[in-house]
Symmetry: C2
């Protein structure tokens, strides 16, 4: 399937497995999504150009665009009058105004929400400071539901439709069941988060779904990277834990049960430190936030005060590095070495075109990136690191909520004529 998504790449193997049969109705639905995604990915263009680029007949495109306009997903683009008149040359574009996707992230010390219009532009952003680890999950879910309810009410008053809400949680997720199976950093185990939210939000709420935060961060990063023709990417986020999301051939890799991307506990140092999971030498113990604190400061140092906001603590550490604090610089070198070691392993296994570092890795990235790259170059088996570049995320700590909102919108892009479509 990779072939179909990434023009210009070597033909990939499409071994076995039944393909979906194609009849007229499904062809029409497929082509509606095709046109909508083309407008999203490649920007406004004329019907004639859409016809050329999709290979579909012009009358078909006219009819498809007509339906998308009717559904409020696409609009004629306002043109500057420069002498040319009339519809044939008039470009169409995604109409973001009437549709929203909502993403909500629950993390160790906050709950945040982002709403995106159909164009992917942020239209609302809310952040609730909350000691999630120190609260019951009922308290957290109450607060989360309230945050979502306020947003839905505001959209409702403006006549804007929310097509879905995706909840991001830092742990192992049971996707079909909507259950957070195991999220040690917020102290959750077997919490049926989606049922709980549905109960609180009532039957009028849009479709709700749950996903792992790092996978959603990967989606947010992928939407940027794909513009550069990158379709194989690993997103690695450094927080209390180390999370991962894998995009392979333009697809989020979820694995057989949705647990793929669990990279924080790779056993890279059998004689290393004890991990929160109970084992020794997991990657998290080498490069997670706790490792950074441990390496950078004495046990009585203020940096260990977890009541201080994370970004403030990171700013403090960055200040030390900027001031040339040798212990801080040595700590960053050690983190970079550990990071490079684990990334090289992942690059060997997955051969991505890009690794994007998020969370605190991005915050302190200026001090990490060169050393990480050189360890990666040294360790990866394939020549020139298999063509992989290691880069820093620019999305800060919003990546998960942003990816979650994109995922909510994706239902429309996949099936613009479906029930969630319009």
């Amino acid at each position: 399937m990779t072939t179909e998504r990434c023009a210009g790449r070597a033909r990939d193997l499409a071994m076995t497995g039944p393909a979906r049969p194609t009849d007229r109705a499904s062809v029409r639905r497929g082509n509606l999504g095709l046109v909508l995604r083309l407008l999203r990915d490649s920007g406004p263009r004329t019907r004639a150009r859409i016809a050329t680029e999709t290979g579909l007949p012009k009358p078909t495109i006219t009819s498809l665009v007509g339906e998308l306009i009717e559904r409020g997903l696409v609009r004629e683009r306002p043109v500057e009058r420069d002498g040319s008149i009339g519809r044939p040359g008039c470009a169409v574009e995604i109409d973001g105004s009437g549709i929203r996707g909502i993403g909500v992230e629950i993390n160790v010390d906050y709950v945040s929400l982002i709403a995106l219009d159909l164009r992917g532009e942020v239209t609302a952003e809310r952040r609730l400071v909350l000691d999630v680890l120190g609260s019951t999950h009922e308290t957290v879910l109450d607060a989360t539901a309230q945050l979502i309810r306020q947003t839905l009410d505001a959209l409702h008053q403006q006549g804007i439709r929310a097509v879905g809400v995706t909840l991001a949680a830092p742990g192992v997720i049971d996707l079909p069941g909507g259950v957070v199976r195991h999220a040690p950093n917020i102290g959750w185990r077997d919490i049926p988060a989606i049922d709980a939210l549905r109960g609180r939000l009532g039957p009028s709420a849009p479709p709700l779904r749950l996903e792992n935060d790092a996978k959603l961060g990967a989606i947010a990063e992928y939407l940027r990277a794909s513009a550069d023709g990158i379709h194989d990417l690993i997103y690695v986020t450094g927080e209390t834990g180390v999370g991962g999301g894998i995009i392979s051939g333009g697809q989020l890799l979820r694995g057989a049960a949705g647990f793929a991307g669990e990279i924080g506990h790779m056993p890279l140092d059998p004689t290393g430190h004890r991990c929160a999971c109970g084992r020794r030498g997991c990657w998290e113990t080498m490069v997670g936030l706790a490792a950074l604190y441990r390496l950078a400061a004495e046990p009585d140092d203020a940096v260990h005060d977890l009541t201080v906001d994370l970004e403030q603590r990171l700013a403090g550490l960055l200040g030390r590095a900027d001031a040339g604090d040798p212990r801080m610089l040595s700590a960053l070198d050690q983190v970079a070495d550990g990071l490079g070691l684990g990334l090289a392993l992942l690059i060997d296994v997955l051969n991505p075109r890009a690794v994007v570092l998020g969370g605190y890795f991005a915050h302190l990235g200026g001090y990490l990136i060169d050393r990480v790259r050189s360890v990666v170059d040294e360790r990866v088996m394939a020549p020139e690191a298999g063509g992989c570049q290691v880069v820093l995320s620019t999305l800060g700590f919003t990546a998960a909520a942003r990816g979650a909102a994109h995922l909510a919108l994706d239902a429309v892009y996949q099936d613009p004529g479906g029930s969630t479509g319009a």
Copy 2:
């Protein structure tokens, strides 16, 4: 895309990326492949049943089956006369007789060839004992070309068409270029194997391609596993090196440049033994054949004599285990521990439904499997190892050549009406 291949699974994310436009001609070609793959995967059936199962109209199926019969890919199934007469109820099936796919494996001490008919049945098997590591690549390619030529000549005389030859090599492959970039165990670096074979075989040879041996082993295993509804699988083969092939959502995972699956050099023991790659503590140094020999026997033991055939050496080791040799049993336990550790990592990252152990792991699997499973259960983060089962391959050392032959046939299954199709 996973959704389209694996009915009954939760809808997977089909984030972004342009889909292929569908017009009449491509719909027809797609549906030809759909019917052919249905017959391969689900066995002989009537046209009426094909129509029901694909959702396509009966007249369309009649026309598609007609074309497949004309192309010699499908045939009416001989029926036992039990009173029912006539075509309508008559089943059709894959006709394997006129088509062959050829797979050739080059490994440390042999070159082997397997021919499969369109049904996937082995019709020819040849094996050449050759000290590949000790020979020049020209010598090896001469011998390989001769092996292929003999097979092609024999098929030609029978009026059977070879649709492709896939060469399996143990190392990092440049697929589009047909170049073996780095295969330390046979001493090859930057060898343009496909051009070299094409030169030796001449212009009348069928399409030639190159692939990594473990990836091809994964394909061979996947074709068996998919019958049980398994579409996410890792194949791990223990030989001089440790190779891996990853099937995710029914797709071979190749990565951005085709280097994915390089699992032998995961750095699992920073203080461990020196690896052939020059680093320390790679997984290969814990579970590769050299590790087994080192753990099982003194340096002057006969087991280290590499001039003895591999299967014979393994039979000797198995005999020692059967006799209760404590050093041998302890060696197997240590290999099992290392194997479980690395597999747990891969299962965390990829969340497969099955791990299939091939190569010597399968040969000695009776002594390894229980302990491997228990280490995996202990180490994997997701509950119950993420639903993953660890099993032993039954294909022995033929998996790579078999997968290679399947890959050659795949061109027909993907596009039965294409130039290679018929």
